[in-house]
């Protein structure tokens, strides 16, 4: 693995980045079907959202045992875990959701009712073990008996593997749990090794000293050429170009920026021109090593989703029309501006995407573009302070949940800390309304309307769906991953055919 080292194994101690290390040990109430990505029960057998999303009722699986004889998992453990995540001082990025829990009811040891002070219509995404950053279920007995310090070193959970030893920032050794309620993993032992250098991880895999590596798209071509088996995970992110400055009510607004000028029609023509001047297929080939699909026009409006209408077809490649549009917008030619090249964690391909797009804009529109390599933390400040007017920014929006609004409310609402689209009351209204609509069908309709609105404005140029990529060794016959989950996960399904809980089909050891 490229990185780990900040593991915290006490309830409320994990910030979210520890996902990979936790996913093999811990479980949650729900997970996602590796084939379809749909929510399925994990520690919960069934669940329902009641009273407009303010009440959630879970029926727990009976007979699930914690590791090392710490007893059966019950509703008390769930309440204990949820309270820790929502408590003051919790490191969890989902703290704000769990802090809204106003009460619990436990009618029997296998049923828990969670009540919220305001609707949480997609709470199922916050208790889902295959969504990065969500929280897990701990043994109340183990944590309270051992104390935080010891519990932080010896995590007790219900997952398919248990932690045997740990050298922080170097390696973690796991052992399969025999007779785990779901399945006993095919590999009796598993080790995670931290190897920061991409080339070293690739060499280790090719030498056969490791079996799975996470790898950026920049190495994909080399690996494919060497005949290494690749495991792409679709729906990991959507990559596009954010055109900075579309925040007319902010003090940092600059009306002279052509794609954000006060004349909305002209500004849209400029943005459309830039969209038409990108050969997206080439960007996918060059910058993503072919591990992507130029089939999106809006973030997370993937083909086949009920909110993705035919009319949201990807904007094609037409440099001539692009130049005409620029002229119609009152520009004789292009101008000089900056393209920030920021390698975001897990998305090292972004500077290459920026370079590819900048080269095409220069060739097709005659722009003069200054490439500005930048540290992620420095740019995070620009994001928050809205100080990148007139700057183009390649950015890949990561999967945080199936429905597009789940991500957009975090990075595209006017009140968000980050701004990756544009500030617009109509768009804000959509996000607010959808976020408080418990009925799925109604949400789909609203998402379609929001899509129409966004498609008519084109605030950001969406280029492609990006796949997460793992490379796997010859030993691995099959590994079922969940769509959108770009970090190593589902290690219990390495080498196995997906089977319903309780069944197990081992192809090879």
């Amino acid at each position: 693995m490229q990185t780990f080292g900040n593991e915290r194994w006490i309830p409320g101690g994990a910030a979210g980045a520890e996902f990979t290390s936790m996913h093999s040990i811990f479980e949650n109430l729900l997970t996602r079907d590796p084939e379809t990505g749909a929510n399925v029960g994990e520690l919960a057998e069934s669940w329902e959202s009641l009273e407009g999303g303010t009440v959630w009722k879970f029926k727990l699986r009976e007979g699930v045992q914690f590791h090392d004889g710490w007893g059966e998992m019950t509703a008390d453990d769930v309440q204990f875990s949820f309270e820790a995540v929502g408590a003051e001082g919790s490191a969890s990025s989902r703290n704000n959701v769990f802090a809204k829990i106003s009460g619990y009811e436990i009618p029997d040891p296998y049923t828990i009712i969670v009540k919220f002070s305001s609707p949480e219509i997609l709470f199922s995404g916050d208790i889902n073990s295959s969504i990065i950053g969500t929280q897990f279920i701990y043994s109340k007995d183990a944590v309270t008996t051992m104390g935080d310090e010891k519990a932080d070193l010896e995590p007790i959970a219900t997952g398919p593997y248990k932690l045997i030893s740990h050298t922080r920032g170097d390696r973690m050794n796991f052992e399969a749990v025999e007779g785990q309620w779901k399945l006993t993993p095919a590999f009796a032992e598993m080790t995670f090794i931290k190897v920061s250098e991409d080339s070293t991880r690739v060499a280790q895999l090719r030498a056969g000293t490791v079996d799975i590596i996470d790898i950026g798209v920049d190495f994909a071509g080399e690996l494919k050429a060497a005949g290494v088996k690749m495991k792409p995970v679709p729906g990991f992110a959507t990559v596009g170009i954010t055109l900075g400055g579309q925040w007319p009510l902010q003090a940092t607004y600059d009306p002279s920026v052509p794609w954000a000028q006060p004349d909305a029609e002209k500004a849209k023509k400029v943005r459309m021109a830039f969209a038409l001047a990108i050969d997206k297929e080439t960007v996918v080939d060059v910058a993503l090593g072919g591990f992507g699909a130029a089939n999106v026009s809006l973030p997370f409006y993937f083909q086949g989703e009920p909110w993705t209408l035919d009319e949201f077809e990807p904007i094609g490649y037409d440099p001539e029309r692009a130049r005409e549009l620029l002229a119609e917008a009152g520009h004789e030619g292009c101008w000089e501006f900056t393209m920030n090249l920021v390698p975001w964690p897990g998305r090292a391909f972004l500077p290459v995407v920026g370079e590819a797009v900048a080269t095409q804009w220069e060739a097709n529109l005659g722009c003069k573009i200054t490439r500005r390599p930048l540290d992620r933390a420095v740019f995070a400040t620009d994001f928050r302070e809205r100080t990148y007017s007139g700057v183009a920014v390649p950015y890949a929006m990561p999967f945080v949940g199936r429905e597009p609004w789940q991500l957009l409310r975090l990075n595209s609402h006017s009140s968000s800390a980050a701004m990756l689209q544009y500030e617009d009351p109509v768009f804000d209204d959509f996000l607010d309304t959808i976020g408080s609509t418990p009925d799925f069908d109604k949400r789909v309709e609203l998402l379609q309307d929001m899509g129409r609105h966004l498609y008519s404005v084109i605030p950001r140029i969406e280029i492609a769906e990006v796949f997460g990529i793992f490379a796997i060794g010859d030993k691995i016959i099959r590994w079922d991953t969940s769509p959108g989950t770009g970090l190593i996960h589902n290690t219990d399904y390495v080498n196995l055919v997906w089977a319903p809980p309780g069944q197990r089909v081992v192809l090879a050891k």
């Binding site: 080292g5 900040n6 050298t167 920032g169 090794i193 250098e197 060499a203 030498a207 975090l410 800390a417």
Partner: protein, 305 residues
């Protein structure tokens, strides 16, 4: 002698203090770690709370005073990222770094000494030039490049050695070779020049006039004296390996303090960077102090000067 040791000790303490202050300031110049720790959607209030929690909202001078006080009591602080004591994190990995340093030093000496002697004995010949070329090649190569080539050849193509990680006793060979070959040139050159000086000395000429065989002259009479500067240099060599460890450990995924420091730099983990660099500096300064004291003991002219 005591006064001399006292002076050197004082210099060592001052050097360490300067290093500590420089590391403190330079690590803070790299930016705000909260920007890396916080999620992109974190609000300004959440970030301020995190800054307060980490003590980064206090005046810089106050942070420095606390830092120096803690360092004096060997409290290296707590890692911002892993929330573990930095001292524990370093002590867990220091043996690996020392192990790699000693192995690299052994390779450097085992290659550099014989080649240097061979070149000195055959000075001016093609064999001398070939020996020098071999050593200089090592000095000219960036260690990370050599590391990648070694991984490719021995790890991927031949598959005779593990390409990375600490997976068994033979895991150390490639990283140690990668570090050791780089300094072979220095050892070889020093050995060669020192050997040539000694071989020109009157007592060697006398030994030859007396009819001693060339092998005996070289190995018994010349080598002993020629080795003194090389052995002294090997202490410096070891400290050089500590610096080189940052790159080599990262390329080979060797779990040492060097890669730990680089992790700290990547994540702006101030306490980790400070602790790691100060430990490396302390080893460097102590090693040099030991050499100074040894010189003063062996050669009174140095301590009197």
């Amino acid at each position: 002698m005591i006064r001399y040791i006292g002076q050197r000790l004082l210099q060592a303490i001052l050097s360490l203090l300067v290093v500590m202050s420089l590391v403190f300031l330079l690590s803070r110049l790299s930016g705000d770690p909260v920007q890396l720790l916080a999620d992109i959607s974190a609000s300004e209030e959440q970030m301020d709370a995190l800054r307060h929690d980490l003590g980064l909202d206090r005046p810089l001078g106050l942070q420095w005073v606390t830092y120096v006080k803690d360092m004096i009591t060997l409290d290296l602080g707590e890692s911002i990222i892993s929330r573990q004591p930095v001292r524990d994190l370093i002590m867990q990995r220091l043996p690996n770094t020392l192990q790699l340093g000693f192995a690299a030093m052994a390779i450097s000496l085992l290659m550099g000494l014989p080649i240097g002697i061979y070149a000195a004995v055959n000075r001016g010949t093609r064999r001398d030039k070939a020996a020098q070329l071999f050593a200089v090649l090592g000095q000219s190569m960036p260690s990370f490049w050599l590391g990648v080539i070694l991984i490719l050849v021995f790890g991927v193509y031949l598959q005779v050695l593990p390409p990375g990680g600490k997976e068994g006793p033979n895991s150390i060979i490639l990283p140690a070779l990668s570090m050791g070959y780089i300094t072979t040139a220095a050892v070889m050159r020093l050995t060669r020049s020192s050997m040539m000086d000694v071989l020109d000395a009157e007592y060697i000429k006398l030994a030859r006039i007396k009819g001693l065989g060339e092998a005996k002259v070289v190995w018994k009479h010349a080598l002993k004296n020629a080795l003194i500067p090389v052995i002294t240099f090997s202490v410096v060599l070891f400290t050089l390996f500590l610096g080189a460890a940052v790159v080599t450990e990262t390329v080979f995924a060797w779990p040492g303090v060097g890669s730990l420091i680089l992790d700290g730099v990547r994540t702006r983990d101030y306490p980790l960077i400070q602790g790691g660099v100060v430990v490396f500096s302390a080893i460097f300064i102590l090693a040099n102090l030991a050499v100074d004291i040894l010189y003063g003991y062996l050669d009174p002219r140095i301590r009197l000067a």
